[in-house]
Structures are given as structure tokens and as C-alpha cells.
């Protein structure tokens, strides 16, 4: 019965727990109920469509997806069922040209594109810097500045399938549109309860800690170099199926039909092994190949200077 009563007061007590979303909770407390749920938007033609959404798992075990806000971006958003709505950092909002009306609590975004193809139109977001974003960004997670939180009002529109062993989630559009977030009753600037202020202070602690231990450096991501050879698996090992004309391999004298015996001294028994043996080659690196021509008994070596491309 208690549940039933609670259900009748939607949006009364809006809260976030996700990444320790105390500030969200504080925000939520300012939210006031509206007169019943709003009528649902017309049926979305995307209902039933499944999207394969690439994600990234941070060192802190948070799931990040990329979004474009009104075509600008991409921005990194935390997938957070503990957040009641969509939160966009002030910096990301600025980059996206999103003008937050100082009088209005929520800002409407015309178009939100999720990497993988899902699109949300005319969604309400809160432009704000929840402390956990400030704190996490201060620590400098590798390659992942976080620009916002993707909470209930976005996620509930999809059936979300998350397999940590796969590199993408599957989001299937449901015929369910969560009600728009309500306007706040109180001044958004009202002070949250003391405990929440204490939690919020953690953002500051994180920044302080970041000063002490140093910001974690960003990973340097480098493209691999390319030789321009197509390989296949033959009975006697790896065969150069084709050398792309004008490629580094062609210039170095690798020929179609050559058997590839070693890459940088490492014997290769399959095309996949050969690719792995060259996995850290950078453009400009010289790669030593041991080859045997069709019908030849002797091996010959061939030094190929890797080029750019893939």
C-alpha cells in the first residue's frame, strides 16, 4: 500500500544514487509534482528498433557512451540508472551552444544522437555540473572526460542489454516515453540537507586528492602502421594473397604468392598470427619479413617501412 501511495506522487522526490549522486538528489528535492502525467508523445517510428551502442568501461567501472548534443560533440555520458534525468555539464552545454534559460530549470535539447544510431528528440536536460563529474574529471580518468549523465528519462525509453564481455550494448526502443521532468518548486539554489552538502564536498576532496597524487595522465593512442599486404592461410603457412599496388610492401619487393615465414623474427603460422606479430608497428617503423617465393626453397628477407593507413 505504501508503494501505491508513492506511485501516485510521481516526481515528488527525485533522487539520484548512481555514481553517488547526492547533488542530483539535492536537485531532485527541488522538483515539484505536476498535475498528473503529461499525455504521451505520438508513437515513435523507431519503436522496436535495436541499436548497437558502443561503450567504454572506465577504470572506475563506469559505462560511458558518446552523444551528440544538437549535432555538436561527441560528448562522453555516464550510463546511470541511478540518475533521474539527463545532466549536461556546463562546459559541454557551452560547446554544444546550449543556452540554459536562467529562469527555467530544464533546458530542451532538440536532438540527442547516441553513438550507434539512436536519436532522441526534444528532450529535457539539466545543465549543471554534478560534483561527481567535477571530481572524476579532476582525477583525469584515462582518455575519458565525462560530460554528463544519462539517466532515467533517456534510458527508460529503451530495453537495455548490457554484456560486459561484448564491446557494445543493445538498446531497443520501447513504446514507453517517461514523463518530462517537472519544473522545480523551489529555487534551484536552495541549500540541500547537511548530509548532502557533506557528500558534495567529496567533489572538492577529489580535486584536492588529485593535486596530491597528480592527475592521471591520458593514454597516448597511436595508429598502427600498414604494409599493404593481403594475407591468407595456406596449407604450408601464411601466404601473401595480394600486395596492394604502390604499398610499402610492394615497394620493398614483397610479391603476390610469397609465403610469409617470420615477422620481425617471430615465426608466424597463420595470417592472424602474422597480423598480431605486427600489431605494435608504427608508421615509419622498419618491419623485417622472412619470405619464401612460390617454388623457392631458400628464404629471403625483406625490410618494409610501414606506412600510414589500415
Amino acid at each position: 500500500m505504501a508503494d501505491a501511495q508513492i506511485e501516485q506522487r510521481p516526481w515528488r522526490h527525485r533522487a539520484g544514487l548512481g555514481t553517488g549522486l547526492a547533488l542530483v538528489l539535492a536537485t531532485a528535492l527541488a522538483a515539484a509534482p505536476e498535475d498528473g502525467p503529461k499525455p504521451e508523445a505520438p508513437r515513435d517510428p523507431d519503436v522496436g528498433r535495436a541499436y548497437r551502442v558502443p561503450y567504454r568501461l572506465t577504470a572506475t567501472n563506469h559505462f560511458l557512451v558518446r552523444l551528440r548534443v544538437n549535432g555538436k560533440g561527441p560528448f562522453n555520458f555516464l550510463v546511470d540508472t541511478g540518475a533521474p534525468a539527463i545532466f549536461v555539464s556546463t562546459e559541454a552545454a557551452k560547446k554544444a551552444g546550449l543556452k540554459a534559460d536562467p529562469e527555467a530549470f530544464w533546458t530542451t535539447v532538440g536532438r540527442l544522437d547516441v553513438e550507434g544510431g539512436a536519436v532522441l528528440r526534444d528532450v529535457k536536460v539539466r545543465v549543471e555540473d554534478p560534483y561527481q563529474l567535477v571530481g572524476m574529471n579532476a582525477l583525469g580518468l584515462p582518455g575519458a572526460s565525462i560530460d554528463g549523465l544519462l539517466g532515467f528519462t533517456a534510458l527508460a525509453r529503451f530495453r537495455i542489454e548490457l554484456d560486459p564481455t561484448k564491446d557494445r550494448m543493445t538498446w531497443t526502443r520501447l513504446a514507453f516515453n517517461p514523463p518530462d521532468p517537472p519544473a522545480p518548486r523551489r529555487n534551484p539554489g536552495a541549500r540541500p540537507p547537511a548530509e548532502l552538502q557533506a557528500m558534495n564536498a567529496l567533489g572538492g576532496v577529489a580535486k584536492f586528492a588529485a593535486v596530491l597524487i597528480g592527475r592521471q595522465p591520458e593514454d597516448v593512442l597511436l595508429p598502427r602502421g600498414s604494409l599493404g599486404m593481403e594475407l591468407d592461410d595456406a596449407a604450408n603457412g601464411v601466404r601473401v594473397a595480394r600486395v596492394l599496388p604502390g604499398s610499402p610492401a610492394a615497394k620493398a619487393g614483397v610479391r603476390d604468392g610469397d609465403q610469409l615465414v617470420r615477422v620481425n623474427g617471430r615465426p608466424v603460422g597463420s595470417a592472424k598470427e602474422a597480423r598480431k606479430a605486427a600489431a605494435s608497428v608504427r608508421p615509419g617503423d622498419v618491419v623485417g619479413l622472412s619470405l619464401r617465393g612460390a617454388g623457392d626453397q631458400a628464404e629471403r628477407s625483406c625490410d618494409v617501412t610501414a606506412g600510414e593507413g589500415f
Binding site: 508503494d3 553517488g20 605486427a278 589500415f310
Partner: protein, 320 residues
């Protein structure tokens, strides 16, 4: 737990990111591994306190959080949607309960209140001195049963979480904890808000260990890792940053004659915006996308040419 990434190490101290591992790009670093914002305060407490209290036991041999595939078929777990739009599941912990736990994709840890922990025998009454926010460090739950699903040997953080307390108070019913990453990463998890149920299918996924690497990380050098993004197949394509279109895509700088890219109709000057559903907003992005692809599988390449978007199908081949 062996924290050394399985990736082969290339010359010059460069780590290689093999295909299909991009989602774990940042994982081997484990700098603040599994440090949540809940856990963050806890971590500070652990760091500033002698490890005698609350520190997780030193791992001996086998990884403590090895995946446990207890159930073979998908398990259905109904949830209640709170007025605050949080999902709540009823769970039996070590046979006690039921307890009301929030299911939270944004929570990196699983958390149990001190009271529920005492009732379920996870901790003995007054067994440990509470630290910041009443946190007592990591404990282990023998069994956690939700719906048809039982997870065994689950690490939990025992903590009196203020937000949880406030939320429980507002809703008029106490909340006993949070189910987070350490639980759901054992499964393929499907959440259906419309049906108000979740399904779980066990998967083999190795969980990193909570807080274990923190002291080493604090003491260790802060050197940026160099990671090579190795494409999983050969396209015959070179790309460059699109100076006039930052963030929109990469410029195709060369297409090798006779290559899969040429066969697909890619042309120099094209703006490549998407490869197999992944945005290629930078050269790094394009390599990251290519690193997830395998030879012989056709994928969509979206390019903008003469202001018009075109969808092309390219089938990369084995090679490099």
C-alpha cells in the same frame, strides 16, 4: 589477481590493443580501479588509516572476484520502480531478508547497509570500527538471491550511505543497499522498464579487484601509457584529421588501388563519419573503430561527399 594485461607487449614499451578489446581500453591501468564515489571516501579512509582496519584481505593466489556462473539459463528478476525512478529489487542475503536494494548501472560496487549486513551475518555486530560514512571496508556475501537468480561469493562494501538513508527516509521505506557493477558484470543484463523486469544470463567476465591496486598506484610513476590501436583487418584506406570539419569525421587521404576500400567506392576527399556504427570523429577514433572489426565481415561506412551523406559497404580482408 594477475593485473598484467594479456595484450602482447610490443617493442619500445608500447602496449597493443588487439581487436575487440576497446571497451577495456582503460581497464589495465586500474588506477582507481573500482573506486566509486561511494568508494572514494572509503579509499581515502583506507589510505589514511593503517591497513589493519577495513582493508580488504590480501589476495592469495586465485582472483577473489573470479566470475561465477552459477546459473545456466536466463533468470528473470522483477523490479519495483520507485517514485524517484530507481529500480528496487528484493534480495535475500545469506538467506536473510528480504532486503530492498537499488539496482544501479552507475554504481561500481555493491553496497550493503551495516544493519542488513548484521542481520544477514555478513558482519558481526559491532565487529569493526566504522570509518568515514560508517564504511567498514569490503566483505563477502555467501549468497545473494534476487528473483530466480542466486549469486555466490559476492564482494560487498558495508556502508551507511547517506544518500541511501535520505532517499529511504523520503520514500517512507528503508533501502538496504545498492546492487552495482560487481554484481551485474557477472551477467548479460537486460533492463526493461516497460515490463519492469530484468533478466540475467551468466557470462565469463573477469572483475578487477576493489581498492587493491590503489596504494601501488599512489606510489607508482605517473606515466602515460602508449597504446597502439591495431586494426583487425585490411581496408586499404588512409585517413587524416579533417581540419575544416573538426569532430564531424576524418578525411580520407588515400584509397589503395584494388583494395576493399576502393571496391566499396570510397574516394580520397570523402569525409568518413561512421564505421560499423562507430563515430570516426578523429584519426584515433577511426583506428579504434577498425580495431573492433574482423576480416571478411561486411560493415557500413558512412561518408559525406559533396555535402551528401552516403552509406557504403566495405568488406575488409585479412592482412595489414
Amino acid at each position: 589477481m594477475n593485473v598484467t594485461p594479456t595484450n602482447p607487449r610490443g617493442p619500445r614499451g608500447v602496449e597493443v590493443v588487439p581487436e575487440l578489446s576497446l571497451t577495456r581500453l582503460s581497464r589495465p591501468r586500474k588506477a582507481w580501479g573500482r573506486l566509486s564515489w561511494i568508494g572514494f571516501g572509503l579509499a581515502l579512509a583506507l589510505v589514511s588509516t593503517p591497513p589493519a582496519v577495513g582493508a580488504p584481505p590480501a589476495p592469495t593466489g586465485a582472483p577473489p572476484a573470479a566470475p561465477k556462473a552459477e546459473e545456466k539459463k536466463p533468470a528473470v528478476v522483477p523490479f519495483e520502480l520507485l517514485a524517484s525512478n530507481h529500480m528496487v529489487v528484493r534480495a535475500r542475503v545469506n538467506g536473510a531478508g528480504p532486503f530492498r536494494l537499488i539496482f544501479d548501472l552507475g554504481a561500481p560496487i555493491t553496497l550493503l547497509s551495516p544493519k542488513a549486513s548484521e542481520l544477514s551475518g555478513v558482519i558481526k555486530k559491532g565487529s569493526a570500527r566504522p570509518m568515514l560514512f560508517g564504511a567498514r571496508g569490503e566483505e563477502r556475501v555467501r549468497s545473494l538471491k534476487v528473483g530466480e537468480l542466486t549469486a555466490t561469493d559476492l564482494p560487498v562494501v558495508v556502508m551507511d550511505h547517506p544518500t541511501l538513508r535520505v532517499l529511504g527516509g523520503l520514500l517512507g521505506r528503508p533501502l538496504d543497499g545498492i546492487i552495482g557493477f560487481t554484481f551485474f558484470a557477472r551477467y548479460k543484463t537486460t533492463i526493461d522498464y516497460a515490463a519492469r523486469e530484468m533478466t540475467f544470463e551468466p557470462v565469463e567476465f573477469e572483475l578487477p579487484d576493489l581498492l587493491k591496486d590503489l596504494p601501488a598506484r599512489l606510489a607508482g610513476p605517473k606515466v602515460a601509457r602508449r597504446l597502439v590501436l591495431a586494426p583487425g583487418a585490411l581496408f586499404g584506406l588512409a585517413v587524416a584529421e579533417a581540419a575544416d570539419n573538426p569532430g564531424a569525421g576524418v578525411s580520407v587521404s588515400a584509397v589503395a588501388p584494388g583494395s576493399p576500400a576502393e571496391a566499396a567506392g570510397l574516394k580520397p576527399g570523402d569525409l568518413l563519419t561512421t564505421l560499423d556504427g562507430r563515430w570516426t570523429t578523429s584519426v584515433t577514433d577511426a583506428y579504434a573503430a577498425a580495431a573492433t572489426l574482423a576480416p571478411g565481415h561486411p560493415v557500413e561506412a558512412v561518408v559525406v561527399r559533396d555535402g551528401k551523406e552516403r552509406s557504403l559497404t566495405v568488406t575488409p580482408v585479412e592482412g595489414f
